[in-house]
């Protein structure tokens, strides 16, 4: 895995993105909603970018289903299992 700067989480639907946002807010996990990077998906919607560590993110999401997760080192995205 490249040196990680951020995690990018993609969800199936905008409903799931907003549900994840609600849960992360509730758990106090810092995050940001950003447009889905074109090289990750042809989807025109939003995804979640987090700078926290993986354990913290998993705790924040409470077992919620994530479509795909990526580690981002500032240049490249690597698909990971979170």
């Amino acid at each position: 895995m490249p040196e990680n700067k951020a995690f990018i989480l993609l969800f199936r639907s905008i409903h799931d993105v907003l549900r994840a946002e609600k849960m992360l807010k509730k758990q106090g996990v810092p995050h940001e909603l950003v447009p889905v990077p074109r090289n990750l998906s042809s989807d025109c919607g939003m995804c979640i970018r987090l700078d926290s560590d993986a354990t913290e993110i998993r705790r924040g999401l409470g077992g919620m289903e994530i479509d795909r997760s990526f580690a981002f080192d500032g240049e490249n995205y690597e698909q990971i299992e979170l």
Partner: protein, 379 residues
């Protein structure tokens, strides 16, 4: 002006309905979940927040299973057309609206779905034993009107799911939601269908249904959802599976305003107010010689919504409605899209007048209305 047609749609709307609608159209206006920009995201947030609030309002937690539609009719069509397959049997009642009867008739011709409509008492009450007797091995669904749009009769659903067993219990709560607690866990509905523009105070063009986990419906519509855009296959996940195309976001925003209003006032306060108006209306009309009010009497514990169907002896509802309209008193006349309910009550084919006060109706309005009916009855 006295508006007594709240069973058709509530009017006026609370200030919150208009504020939320106005705020969406003025400040947000984006297409929800379709783009990566702030206005699209804010629009999606409005829908998400409404979905969450409405899901909690019906006693559920899994908000992705709450599907927005255009109205109660679309919700019922989604449930019936999405669920029923060739050779299935359905049990329903003789108090249903055409939004149940017409899809069932369509299905009986197009998919060889058979149905049994069990009788109800002249006051509109269902006997659970009649449901039990009507069930067959191939009964896939039981559809019950929770509150009649004709007589206001509220069907006690206690014990119904036990009687129904494996079949899917579909409850039409268009008239009851917002007038009394409608909790899916209490009534044990499998699918709950309702509109937003009646007692939930949204503008017209919003409805919803909640589909319990484990129930699969074939969607009525297929198309763009803003998700999985690379695929020409329609999504399998909810809510996207059952919602496609640009939704009525302004209407959904107005529903959030309506729900906020209900929360602020308290459902109990709204219920008490409407029941007081109901008693005043029914007692007032019944005291007029020659006026018959249908329903609004029944066994211990029976409850009725603030919807009163009535007739003046020897007068056509249309003539009386005309006279009332001349006095700027607005009621509904005719069969109220529920011919079988009128057969049950004994008012088919002429139908009846129907007065349905709302939360904003005043006592003075009811007094003036009853006086006008008295005057017309005496002519």
């Amino acid at each position: 002006m006295i508006y007594l047609d709240n069973a058709a749609t509530s009017f006026p709307k609370p200030a919150q309905t208009i504020e939320y609608l106005n705020s969406f159209v003025t400040n947000i206006g984006g297409n929800p979940g379709r783009s990566g920009h702030t206005l699209s995201l804010e629009a999606a947030r409005v829908i998400f927040e409404t979905r969450e609030k409405l899901t909690a309002f019906i006693g559920m937690t899994d908000s992705e299973r709450l599907i927005f539609t255009q109205n109660g009719t679309e919700s019922l069509n989604m449930a019936l057309l999405g669920l029923l397959r060739e050779g299935d049997h359905v049990v329903t009642t003789r108090m249903e609206h055409n939004s149940v009867m017409r899809p069932l008739e369509f299905l009986s011709h197009e998919r060889a779905v058979s149905y049994t409509a069990v009788p109800c008492s002249p006051e509109g009450f269902l006997d659970i034993d009649d449901i039990r007797v009507a069930l067959r091995k191939n009964t896939a669904a039981v559809v019950i009107n929770h509150g009649s749009n004709v007589t206001g009769t509220v069907q006690s659903l206690e014990g119904v799911k036990d009687a129904v067993g494996e079949a899917v219990l579909i409850v039409d709560a268009c008239q009851t939601i917002g007038c009394m607690p409608v909790d899916m866990e209490t009534i044990r509905a499998d699918i709950l269908c309702f509109s937003g523009h009646k007692s939930l105070f949204s503008v017209q063009g919003v409805g919803a249904l909640y589909v319990r986990s484990g129930i699969e419906l074939t969607p009525l519509k297929f198309g763009g959802t803003g998700s999985k855009s690379e695929s020409i296959q329609h999504p399998t996940f909810l809510p996207d599976r059952y919602e496609c195309g640009t939704p009525n976001t302004p209407g959904i925003a107005s529903l959030l305003g309506g729900l906020t209003f209900i929360e602020k006032e308290g459902l109990g306060t709204i219920m008490d107010r409407k029941q007081a108006l109901r008693r005043m209306l029914v007692d007032g009309l019944r005291a007029i010689p020659g006026v018959e009010v249908y329903g609004h009497k029944g066994p211990e514990g029976a409850s009725f919504l603030a919807t009163a169907a009535f007739n003046i002896e020897g007068r056509l509802p249309s003539d009386v409605g005309y006279e009332l309209n001349r006095r700027s008193m607005y009621v509904r006349i005719g069969l109220h899209c529920a011919p079988m309910a009128h057969q049950t009550v004994g008012t088919f084919p002429n139908g009846s007048l129907r007065a349905s006060p709302g939360y904003f109706t005043g006592e003075d309005d009811i007094r003036a209305f009853v006086e006008a009916v008295r005057e017309i009855a005496g002519e």
